[in-house]
Amino acid sequence: MSTQNKNISVDEIMLKLGEFPVVKETTILREAIEQMDIHNFGVVFVINNSEELLGIITAGDITRKLLNFQKPTPALFIDDSIDHANKDFNYIESGSEISLALEICKKMKIWDLPVIKNKKLVGYLNFHTLADRFLDIN
């Protein structure tokens, strides 16, 4: 990737609200998983009524829940999304350079990064977004 590319803002290439899965904290888990399926992403972001990001649920989290959490599936499905969200998540501030986003992803070994502005979720960066932008993979 060129130095010029690394200096562009995350806002330029992030997915905007409506283009990725977002649910409210009291949305039941089944509907959250459904949103992942509809958008074809392995992640869903959990927000409150003020659109502040409260947590993230990944497909990997769901897989581990199914293996370790012995609740009946219908009981798991009706739990609030926030009950199963990772609340200690990494994020990047809106306006940051893409190089910082890449550093965070590399350091934390993650592929998904929410973009935050004044605590509110405004966008989503993931590996595919970056690849589409910087690699001529088509």
Partner: protein, 294 residues
């Protein structure tokens, strides 16, 4: 999301206030299944009040004016709404005790709420949106029974229906869950599960020992198991205990095979009170939520 536990206060006007929830004393909801006559209701209220006063147990008089879920077409339905609500209103004035009756028709909710301190949604109707909507609109505490066909976690849907119509004064009650045909079973984990809604929970002991329609066109029951189930439910953290009681069960006009004989009421309530107080002492020492599921 586990919501903060709420304390629900039952009562308006000049009657005693009964507070239910958190670590408050165990409350009792009881009386004859159906209102039979004014004299009988007053006699039962007087007898139960003596017992609850002696044991220092806050209580609510429960009796219904129209039992709409009887098995046989000619079973006793009740006094009807007008006479029944008049008796409940007079009883409130006479004894200063809050009262509760169920209702099973959307048009009955408003008059029921105008008299009763708490309105009860029958178990069979616990997911009916129209019933829940009008129950919420009464602005009274809603006593919501878990349907025998419902899982405890799905009661959250009914709670959210009530909340969506402005009701946040709810008590959730288990009255047993269908085990195949003609039998009920009690899953004591339903209490901590339903408590996750933030509302107090109650155990209906006398309907839990019912054998639904096991006698052809009436329901049977196994009263001998009432004390076992009461002790188990109280130790699992219920905030209120519901039991229908009658001075002569054989002659009771409704649920004669399940109502608790009045002569046993003091004994059972005394046990329940001791178990409740012991549980609170145990919680003080060990805590409650001390095993993580994963």
């Amino acid at each position: 999301m586990i919501l903060e536990s709420k304390v629900i206060e039952i009562g308006y006007g000049k009657v005693n206030r009964v507070k239910v929830g958190k670590n408050l004393p165990l409350a009792f909801f009881g009386g004859p299944c159906a209102i039979e006559t004014k004299d009988h209701s007053f006699f039962m209220a007087d007898e139960i009040d003596k017992i609850c006063s002696k044991l220092n147990i806050p209580w609510v008089f429960k009796s219904c004016y129209d039992k709409d879920c009887r098995s046989a077409p000619d079973s006793f339905h009740g006094t009807g709404i007008d006479e029944g609500l008049k008796i409940l209103s007079d009883l409130r004035d006479e004894f200063g005790i809050p009262v509760v009756s169920d209702f099973s028709d959307v048009n009955w909710a408003k008059p029921t709420g105008e008299v009763c301190d708490m309105v009860q949604v029958p178990a069979y109707l616990c997911r009916q949106t129209s019933i829940l909507r009008v129950a919420a609109k009464t602005n009274r505490v809603v006593h919501l029974k878990k349907g025998q066909f419902m899982s405890p976690w799905n009661m959250k849907n009914s709670v959210r229906k009530l909340e969506s119509h402005g009701c946040n004064q709810i008590i959730l009650t288990d009255r047993g869950t269908f085990l195949g045909y003609g039998a009920l079973v009690n899953d004591m984990t339903c209490f901590p599960i339903m408590k996750r809604t933030g509302y107090p929970v109650c155990f209906d002991a006398t309907h839990s020992i019912q054998l639904p329609t096991s006698m052809g066109n009436i329901s049977g029951g196994q009263r001998e198991f009432i004390p076992y189930l009461v002790r188990a439910a109280v130790s699992c953290g219920i905030n209120a205990l519901f039991m229908e009681t009658h001075n002569n069960p054989k002659l009771a006009l409704s649920d004669s095979n399940t109502v608790l004989d009045l002569k046993y009421l003091e004994n059972i309530l005394h046990q329940a009170k001791i178990v409740h107080e012991t549980r609170l002492e145990i919680l003080d020492k060990f805590g409650e939520d001390n095993v993580h599921p994963e």
